[in-house]
């Protein structure tokens, strides 16, 4: 705004100058002030003048003249003096002596006037306009600008009384100066001030100044000044109008500070931020705090700037303070009187806080994540809109908190990522599109002895051995074209031992763009060796299994065949191998038999027994083959126990006994046929003997004896035939041979263990026992009532082995005499046994009864 050179018509004095320019004060007789009427008068302004020497109030009034004035007043009752006030203004004072009732001098009444005040005559409209201007405007009444009159806005802005004359043209510029003007940071000399320059006819346009008030307030202003000319063009004075740009300036500074802060990363940002806010707003305490994630009630100071230096509030829970409201999301500006609004806050009281600005810091989603607080111990100038400034910083601070949090989260997740990948025994890495490691886990240290972090940024080509890189490279290049790759390879290693590697390359995209490849590489050398060993041993097992001379099969717990060899498959052919049921052994129709040929119940199937945990051995099964021809097999089944002793399956072994069975049947048939022949032959011999001796001298007794011998032989034959001529049991033999001769009534007592005799021995024993029994019936113990026979035998151990000792003893028969010659029977006994058995046989004709003892080498006679 520019004021040109208005034509002024003098209409009267400026209304603000009237009355106020005059002050009255009372001095005691020593010249000290004891009362003033207008404390605001320039002569007294800003000072407590009561008690001080009146003379000291003056800047240039000489002591003699004051002293003269008071002395004159004492003499004459009144006097006039003049001088200059601390601002350099000319002041007139009239001094009047007051007397008390006794007419004694009491005190001086001094009336101070500013003789030039109100001398500038402005038109009424101009004066009104001037006063009403919302801008600071000042007028000087003389070309030298020795005295300046400001409007009410000026008085308010510069915090000085309306009537004060701001003269910069005085001998002592420091004394009582209400503000300084600076330009480009330097004090402006008095003669260069705009009002002074305008007084010399210059028009000052849009010059920027900084006004520093005595209380420290800084105002940024743009000044325009122009001369005031009279009707003849003579310069009467000058006028200056200022445009306040403090707010704009502060915002500029704030922006610059913010820019400055933003260059500082991390926590230092907040320190710079609070310093910048404090300096921009001139506030005593500024802090930025975040709401802790652990406890949303707690605020943690990120940075604080207190009384011109960094400080802190630590962690705190806002209570009964404006902060508590700000945390709820409200921006607060309390220009003054905070203490009255929050009377319960000890903190505010302690710091004598008067004004407060608090603004919440919001995350992108609107959540309050922290606050900025500004506290000052005097009122804050609302017109400077300090809240705007704080909010400029708030946006930036919120962003910074979020960034730090996400960084912390990222660091945390990276940390986890690293911890996880480090325990993986495989190589895990991220390789960027330039084939450089961007991440490598601890396995790289174990494999290559390379610090994983030192690998970051280094090319694979420089890390891997050339041979290894040659192997890896083609796969990597494919993966870097976006293909997911999995491969196994044998890679040479530094120590010369090649490693079997299994590698997986996973391309990684960010925002649709391929950023690199995650690589996972495991050492499967050990696995490979195991695999090879396993495969070899399995091969051996299979070979063994396949070539077993018997059928073998492994089943699961249900009897389904897991593995069977060819022999097994041919012995127990499946109806349908393709179906699970067809692979079940129970499905292969076979009937289990006892060794005697009886059919066993299904539950006795050897596999069922095995699956119940028992070993089943040598069970004969008749298998019904598809062609209708049945085959005999011998099956054994052994359970296979898994963990916790549960049966998980069974091993089934079958042997083809069809030939054996057939041979057995043939042998049985042959023996039966032979026996039939022998029997018929014996019958023929019987018939021939019977026919031959019928009419001769042979007695009937002789014939019967012959027949009985023949039948005894035949009976022994029967026994042997039943046993397939493998042998006969002595006990059974005794029973069969003696049965026809036993008179009953317990007269024949036999005892002895089961002893297997070979066929020849069995026949010899049969003949011998027959002769002894026949003799007993004819002449011995069985020939009379009451006689009895004891037949005992036992096996007795001797150094060479065992001997069979048999004793036949007759008692209770007629007295026995030794025969004159041995009959056929006796000779048969002695001979046949001796010849056949190599045994010693003795027959004793004891008068009490015949005794026969047989002593045979068991090895000779056993089957």
């Amino acid at each position: 705004m520019t004021i040109g050179s208005p034509r002024l018509t003098q209409v009267g004095t400026l209304p603000f100058a009237a009355g106020v320019s005059t002050a009255t004060c009372v001095l005691n007789l020593e010249g000290d002030v004891i009362w003033v009427s207008e404390a605001e008068h320039p002569l007294f302004a800003g000072r407590n003048v009561v008690g001080t020497s009146f003379q000291s109030l003056w800047a240039t009034a000489s002591q003699p003249s004051i002293a003269m004035g008071t002395a004159l007043a004492l003499q004459q009752g009144a006097s006039q003096i003049s001088g200059v006030d601390p601002y350099g203004n000319a002041v007139n004072a009239s001094i009047e002596l007051r007397r008390d009732a006794q007419q004694q001098p009491l005190e001086f009444i001094v009336t101070v006037t500013q003789p030039r005040a109100g001398t500038l005559r402005l038109s009424e409209q101009v004066a009104t306009l001037f006063e009403a201007l919302p801008l600071v405007a000042m007028v000087s009444e003389d070309p030298e600008a020795g005295m300046i009159i400001g409007n009410s806005e000026a008085a308010r802005r510069y915090k000085v009384p309306l009537q004060v004359n701001h003269s910069f043209n005085r001998t002592n510029p420091e004394a009582g100066k209400s503000y300084r003007l600076l330009r480009n940071g330097r004090d402006v000399p008095a003669h260069e001030l705009p009002l002074q320059r305008a007084g010399k006819g210059e028009e000052v346009r849009d010059e920027e100044y900084e006004a520093r008030l005595v209380d420290g307030t800084v105002r940024h202003i743009i000044l325009n000044a122009a001369p005031l000319r009279g009707q003849n063009g003579e310069i009467l004075g000058s006028v200056v109008v200022e445009t306040e740009i403090t707010q704009r300036k502060r915002l500029e500074v704030a922006q610059a500070s913010l820019l400055q802060c933003s260059r500082v990363p991390g926590p230092a940002f907040f320190a710079a931020l609070v310093k910048a806010i404090s300096e921009t707003l001139g506030a005593r305490q500024v802090y930025v705090a975040e709401i802790t994630e652990e406890d949303p009630r707690v605020l943690r100071t990120l940075a604080a700037y207190i009384d011109g230096k960094p400080g802190t509030y630590g962690d705190f829970i806002p209570h009964a303070t404006p902060c508590a409201d700000v945390v709820q999301g409200n921006t607060l500006f309390i220009a003054s009187g905070v203490g009255e609004l929050y009377p319960h806050s000890a903190v505010l009281k302690h710091n004598r806080v008067d004004s407060y600005i608090g603004t919440p810091l919001r995350a992108a989603n609107g959540t309050v994540i922290g606050i900025i607080g500004v506290l000052h111990d005097s009122p804050m100038d609302e017109s400077l809109r300090p809240v705007d400034i704080v909010e400029i910083f708030a946006g930036r601070a919120a962003a910074e908190i979020q960034r730090m949090r996400s960084e912390a989260t990222l660091r945390e997740s990276e940390q986890k990522y690293r911890v996880i990948t480090d325990v993986i025994p495989s190589l895990v890495a991220f390789v960027d599109t330039e084939e450089r490691y961007q991440f490598a886990n601890a396995a790289y240290d174990r494999w290559f002895g390379l610090d994983p972090e030192s690998l970051e940024g280094r090319a694979l080509k420089d890390i891997l051995a050339p041979e290894a890189y040659e192997v890896v490279s083609p796969y990597l290049k494919r993966a870097l074209r976006g293909e997911r790759i999995s491969y196994e390879s044998c890679v040479p290693t530094p120590n010369g031992e090649p490693k079997h590697l299994k590698a997986e390359y996973v391309p990684h995209y960010e925002g649709g763009q391929l950023r690199g490849v995650f690589t996972f590489v495991s050492d499967i050398s050990e696995l490979k060796r195991h695999e090879e060993a396993l495969s070899k041993s399995e091969q051996q097992f299979r070979t063994l299994f396949e070539h077993l001379p018997v059928g073998a099969a492994l089943t699961n717990r249900d009897g389904a065949i897991l593995l069977e060899n060819d022999v097994f498959a041919s012995l127990l052919p499946s109806k349908d191998v393709a179906t699970p049921a067809g692979r079940n052994i129970f499905d292969r129709s076979c009937t289990a038999h006892t060794s005697e040929g009886m059919i066993l119940p299904a539950a006795m199937h050897p596999l069922r027994q095995a699956l119940r945990g028992f070993v089943a051995r040598d069970v004969e099964l008749l298998c019904h083959h598809a062609e209708g021809s049945d085959r005999w097999v011998r099956m054994s089944a052994t359970p296979i126990f898994g963990d916790e002793d549960h049966v998980t399956g069974a091993l089934v072994v079958v042997a083809d006994i069809h030939g054996e069975k057939r041979d057995m049947a043939r042998r049985t048939l042959l023996i039966n046929e032979l026996n039939h022949r022998v029997k018929n032959t014996l019958a023929s011999v019987q018939s021939i003997a019977s026919q031959t001796f019928r009419a001769s001298a042979v007695t009937k007794d002789n014939l019967e004896a012959f027949e009985e011998r023949l039948l005894a032989l035949s009976n022994a034959h029967n026994l042997l035939t039943n046993e397939l001529w493998e042998g006969a049991d002595l006990k059974q033999l005794v029973a069969i041979v003696l049965e026809p001769h036993d008179p009953g009534a317990g007269r024949l007592v036999t005892s002895g263990p089961s002893v297997r005799l070979k066929p020849a021995a069995a026949l010899a024993f049969a003949m011998a026992l027959h002769e002894l029994a026949t003799n007993a019936v004819k002449y011995g113990a069985f020939s009379v009532p009451g006689g009895n026979v004891h037949l005992t035998w036992q096996l007795e151990p001797v150094p060479e082995g065992r001997r069979l000792r048999v004793k036949w003893m007759e008692r209770g028969g007629p007295p026995v005499a030794t025969p004159e010659r041995k009959g056929f029977g006796t000779r048969l006994i002695e001979r046949s046994l001796a010849f056949e058995l190599g045994s010693e046989t003795t027959v004793q004709y004891d008068p009490l009864g015949v005794t026969c003892e047989i002593d045979a080498d068991f090895r000779e006679i056993s089957s």
């Binding site: 018929n680 019958a683 035949s714 035939t721």
Partner: protein
């Protein structure tokens, strides 16, 4: 006089059994050595007891036994095979194991005759 039907393919043995049956008081029909002829005789002749050899020159004499069961005439097997050579449906019949004594033959005939009552 009771009549006994003898089927036996071995001459000498037949002679012995014939004399045993005579001594036991039977008029002997036969001996018949072959199956076909024996079946005819068994069908046509009337007799009180039959003594059957099992193996008639390679043919089993069981058809005769079947016929006799039909006729209700008791019989005794006389065989070199013994009891195991007889089919199970005939297993409860009296079987004589060759060679045998006349007393054994008499006992077997007694057993067979008494069995008829219960059969």
């Amino acid at each position: 006089m009771k009549r006994a039907f003898l089927v036996e393919d071995e001459g000498v043995v037949a002679l012995l059994i014939e004399s045993m049956l005579s001594e036991l008081g039977y008029q002997v029909i036969g001996p018949i050595p072959r199956l076909a002829k024996a079946l005819d005789v068994a069908r046509d002749e009337q007799f009180d007891i039959a003594v059957l050899d099992v193996n008639l020159n390679g043919s089993a004499s069981f058809p005769i036994a079947d016929l006799l069961i039909e006729k209700g005439v008791p019989f005794v097997f006389a065989t070199g095979y013994g009891a195991p050579g007889i089919p199970s449906y005939l297993g409860n019949r009296a079987v004589l194991q060759k060679p045998f004594k006349m007393q054994q033959l008499a006992a077997a005939i007694g057993e067979a005759t008494s069995q008829r009552g219960t059969a």
